[in-house]
């Protein structure tokens, strides 16, 4: 078991997400930086879907009340186990009574804390992912974030050899990332000037960004006719409302929307966007769907991601 001594800015329970309920208006949730999340589970030989804590900005302090093994990945922050400084992107053994303290992110925005075996949280509709706007998931089941005093159980397992993630696989969160845009949706309806401007011009991440969407500020893009009839919106969709400032839809997005969309960000790049602090710059370049699909296949294979099937009962209650 762990006990939350200080929940920090905002810490939530996340597994890989709640799949199969979009047609009822329930969104997916799950880690907004899938890469950092999946690395933490991989370091501990966990199932890809094992529940972790998503720590926004930092400030978390916990006490381990049993022995175990954990890993911390994501944003660059000072972390200490008791008084010992910790390296991120590595697994560690921990003894009952030890305290883990995560400082504030210096680069990047979100950290992921995994324990061996995963946190045991009662699932709702097949997932314990916390989605505040849907009032579902998390420790209390109602979508609220963790609070100090909360305790989370996990199954202690066998000790593990020490492992770390090589630098080559880690993102430098201080850099301006270039994210792939898979053209799609109404891409062909946008004026050429907007398509050109979106790729190759810099945008700044606005402070009104959250797990639903990341708002960008830049030179306003010309848009096609507004007022589409609502249609399904994928995670990573680039919506352009009439003010011409794009919004990139993240894991807690609404399931339907009616703004014109330029396409969808390459899912293997999306974690880099999720890690940008307000005011940081981002750039986009076009990527072929087939290239992004090949990258996503490799990504899922590498991390052993098995998506649940949408069987014959295609519209779950």
């Amino acid at each position: 078991m762990i006990k939350i001594l200080d929940a920090g800015m905002r810490t939530t329970v996340q597994d890989f997400g709640r799949f199969g309920y979009l047609s009822k208006g329930l969104t997916r949730g799950g880690p907004v930086d899938e890469q950092a999340f999946l690395w933490a589970n991989r370091l501990l030989d966990n199932n890809f879907n094992a529940a972790q804590l998503e720590i926004t900005l930092g400030g978390l302090e916990i006490e381990f009340q049993q022995d175990g093994c954990f890993a911390l990945t994501g944003a660059d922050a000072d972390a200490h186990l008791d008084d010992e400084p910790l390296t991120l992107w590595q697994n560690f053994d921990v003894k009952a009574g030890q305290r883990l303290k995560v400082g504030y992110a210096k680069a990047g925005l979100r950290l992921y804390l995994a324990v061996q075996g995963g946190f045991q949280v009662e699932p709702k509709w097949h997932s314990c992912a916390t989605v505040e706007r849907d009032s579902v998931g998390g420790l209390s089941g109602d979508g609220s974030p963790l609070q100090s005093g909360d305790t989370l159980r996990f199954q202690c397992d066998t000790p593990q050899p020490s492992r770390r993630v090589s630098w080559a696989y880690r993102s430098d969160y201080t850099k301006t990332p270039v994210l792939g845009l898979i053209p799609g949706y109404q891409y062909d309806d946008f004026p050429m000037s907007a398509r050109e401007a979106f790729c190759y011009k810099d945008f700044e991440v606005s402070k009104d960004s959250n797990r639903m969407g990341i708002r960008l500020a830049g030179k306003a893009l010309a848009t096609p006719k507004q007022g589409l009839v609502s249609e399904g919106i994928n995670i990573g969709s680039v919506q352009v409302p009439s003010d011409g400032q794009p919004i990139i839809m993240m894991h807690d997005r609404q399931t339907l929307g009616g703004y014109p969309k330029l396409g969808v960000i390459n899912p293997v790049d999306l974690g880099k966007l999720a890690q940008l602090q307000p005011g940081q710059k981002v750039r986009f370049s076009r990527v072929e769907a087939s290239v992004a699909q090949q990258q996503l296949r490799r990504f899922y294979q590498f991390f052993n991601v098995r998506l649940p099937c949408q069987g014959g009962d295609n519209l779950r209650s």
Binding site: G25, G184, Q254, L315
Partner: protein, 242 residues
């Protein structure tokens, strides 16, 4: 366009793991019925390769597992299913599962702060608005925005009003609202920009229940006016807008 038929079906890429299939334009019950028929067929034929399906007014979003099927293969399968659907006589199989939901509504300015303005703008009496809103059956064209939120259409021409210029930040759960050709119930407290004309005591999203929502696309909904007493007896709250 010289031939309207050639524009649909139209399939577009919607990311690395989704395609969006349009079967028509705008808000049209026949198009929506075809969308539902296709949703059922795609679910049965390809379910083990998909991870979600989202029907809406005139489109079907198909989320697929990139490890199980390629976009090209999926597009080809879907085109074949659309052809079969056309041959079998379009909406077959979709309408028989449609359920009629009756929703009791307390129409009153105390819980419908836009009711009086709506009457003025439409040059109707409040009683006329209530009568027209309750008189007909609506179709669930789409579900989304928030859990259990059903987009219902179409409103009688005379009741059509634009959205608010400034959306409200907080609308109580159960609020019954109209905007353009659509009407809906807000299942949970949320922000929103539609005109609120009443409130229901019914629960349309309960995160603690097993069933997320009683409604699905293709179902029918009829509103029924009830008195303040009936509304309160059914558990309705008169809490006002903030």
């Amino acid at each position: 366009m010289s031939n309207a038929e050639s524009a649909f079906p139209k399939i577009v890429t919607a990311g690395a793991d989704a395609i969006l299939v349009y079967l028509g334009e705008g808000i049209d019950p026949d198009v929506n019925a075809r969308v539902m028929a296709l949703t059922n067929r795609v679910g049965s034929a390809l379910g083990d390769k998909l991870y979600d399906l989202v029907p809406s007014y005139n489109s079907l979003m198909i989320y697929y597992n990139v490890l199980a099927v390629s976009e090209d293969e999926l597009r080809e399968c879907v085109r074949k299913l659309i052809d079969e659907l056309q041959q079998d006589g379009d909406a077959s199989g979709a309408s028989k599962q449609s359920t009629l939901h009756t929703i009791d509504v307390y129409y009153d300015p105390s819980v419908g702060p836009d009711l009086e303005r709506a009457a003025k703008q439409t040059s109707l009496s409040i009683d006329d608005i209530i009568r027209m809103h309750t008189e007909q059956e609506y179709r669930v064209y789409a579900m989304g925005f928030a859990p259990g939120f059903a987009y219902l259409g179409e409103l009688p021409e005379k009741l059509r009003l634009p959205r608010l210029d400034n959306p409200r930040t907080k609308i109580p759960a159960g609020s019954v609202a109209i905007a353009e050709a659509q009407t809906a119930v807000y299942p949970s407290e949320s922000p929103g920009g539609w005109n609120i004309i009443g409130r229901t005591a019914e629960t349309l999203y309960d995160p603690q229940a097993d069933n997320i929502s009683p409604m699905k696309v293709g179902d029918r909904v009829q509103f029924k006016a009830v008195s303040k007493d009936e509304f309160e007896q059914a558990g309705g709250s008169l809490e006002s807008l903030s």
